[in-house]
Amino acid sequence: MEPELAVALPAAGAACATAFRPRPKLAFASGAALGVAGLVAVILSRADLTSDQLGILLTLSPASRAILIAASAALAILVALPPPRAERSTLLRWGLGGLAGMTAMAAAPTLGVVVMILLLLVVLQASGAGRRGYAIRFRAPALAVCLLALAIALAAMQGPALLTRLVVVCLVAGLAAALGVLPYIHEFDPDESTAASPIPWLAFVGPVLAVVVVGKAGEMVEGAEDAFGALLIGLGLINIVVATLASWRTSSDAEAWRYSFIADWGLALCGFGLVVPDGVGAALLVLYSILLGRLPLYLWSRQSLREKAQTDRPINFIVAAALAGSAPFAGFPARILLLRAATAMYWPLALVLALSFLLWLPGSLRLGRTIGAPAGRQLIGVAVALAISVVFGLFPRPLLGLAGL
């Protein structure tokens, strides 16, 4: 199936869900039908098949297609088992809008087109109602657009080797600013709706954007691949250390969740920086676990975060174990692959990473408690997320195969 359909169907779903807002059931039905059709189109689209039906060459790489499928599945789980106080049609509207943009970014022929689509997503997200001021919501992702655009402009010029290094810096800084990781953490309001908060950049749009930017960066950083990898690893390590400590020590539980996303991104950045297949595989597994584990668990914990309910039941410890990346959950094979890649590249890095993995424990125990005592739909959702994480942890090979590794 052609990538055009994979872009158009979720976009049409988001448009229908928006147009029929006064009639939530109709909005949900039309959005869900088109969203499911879009998911089928992504699944059936062949990776690396180029299509030019619209006069523009569209290709889905295996890695970006795999992450898109995971993002679609995450959206489907959240819409099927919505968190308390969340409207299904609203979740679907925002989710399908994001998914259409993510698919367009994944299929775009060049980084320039990707950045223009990112720009549209930035403007659309900022246009929603949020508790933070418009300028605060807009500034960091818009800075990312400018930095990535500057990288493209510099890459189009010839000059000394320093110029390619500048391209590397702009690319990595732009990616960090778009995701909202250190050193460009977006301002966070715990009471803001998730769609308007920085969480979609960290946990929904971010994974696809990172795969696309890293995938397309290769030809732009020719001659400075080592610097690109080193910068990603350095940024990854800083994010791991700072965010795991912050997730443990910060006063607000919602902030702790946000820092836990950033810590996971540290792992993913390290994986992308270690250019060997094991490193990239580790990064992709971390992104799967963000999309299908950490994001749904965060959304289902929002109600107990509001009520400040904390419990020490077995389910809380199981969730903590999943968030900490212990066996048999999805984070475990990701960490093993990362250690293997680091050992192959430079063994002291593996030592540093192994020590840093311990830092996940106190923060994860804290986050596990914030799930509260899930019941009903929330309990089913938590069970589904944990089951998916166990399956990914025990059988990571099919997932890596889906991403072409």
Partner: protein
């Protein structure tokens, strides 16, 4: 031609940096669109130039109708911004002429000066109309640097016009997750 276009691009971006109201912002965006179209034309992309100009002018017309009233050019306290426009122009001129090679010097100067000026404006501004105008200007420059032919020019034009049509939302407290 590209040298003139590059100067015009700097002028347009400088007006966006120095303006705080809709008329000044619209004028700046129109000038950036004109310069971007001229650069595209000089690269042999006549169709792309026309599309880019149309998108930029439409965006400028929309900006003329949305935002704080007046020109708002060089309001009190804008001296640092004026210095910023001059310093960025000098540094970009040095980089474009002495440090880099490749596409024409005018193209290199335009890309650097507009992206840095409008990026700086985005970091400093608090008014939605200003931020949306700056990002529309960035989209126009992305159109000429991304190198996808008519596709990137068309997308840039659509983005510039679409962004300028966005109303700035009122900040309110939503309910729900």
């Amino acid at each position: 031609m590209t040298e003139v276009a590059a100067f015009v691009a700097w002028l347009g971006a400088a007006v966006i940096v120095l303006a705080d109201s809709r008329r000044g912002l619209a004028a700046g965006l129109a000038v950036v669109a004109l310069a971007a179209a001229a650069i595209a034309w000089s690269q042999g992309e006549e169709g792309g130039a026309i599309v880019l100009l149309a998108g930029g002018v439409l965006g400028s017309a929309l900006r003329f109708t949305i935002g704080p009233d007046g020109w708002g050019l060089m309001q009190p306290g804008s001296t640092p911004r004026l210095l910023f426009t001059i310093v960025v122009a000098l540094v970009a001129l040095w980089v474009a002429l002495a440090v880099t090679s490749g596409p024409s010097a005018g193209f290199r100067f335009t890309a650097l000066t507009v992206l840095v000026l409008l990026g700086g404006r985005l970091l400093e501004a608090a008014e939605p109309a200003v931020m949306l105008t700056a990002i529309a200007g960035v989209a126009l420059v992305l159109g000429i640097v991304s190198g996808d032919g008519i596709v990137s020019y068309t997308l840039a034009a659509l983005v510039a016009a679409g962004v300028s049509a966005m109303p700035a939302p009122a900040t309110k407290r939503p309910r729900g997750t």
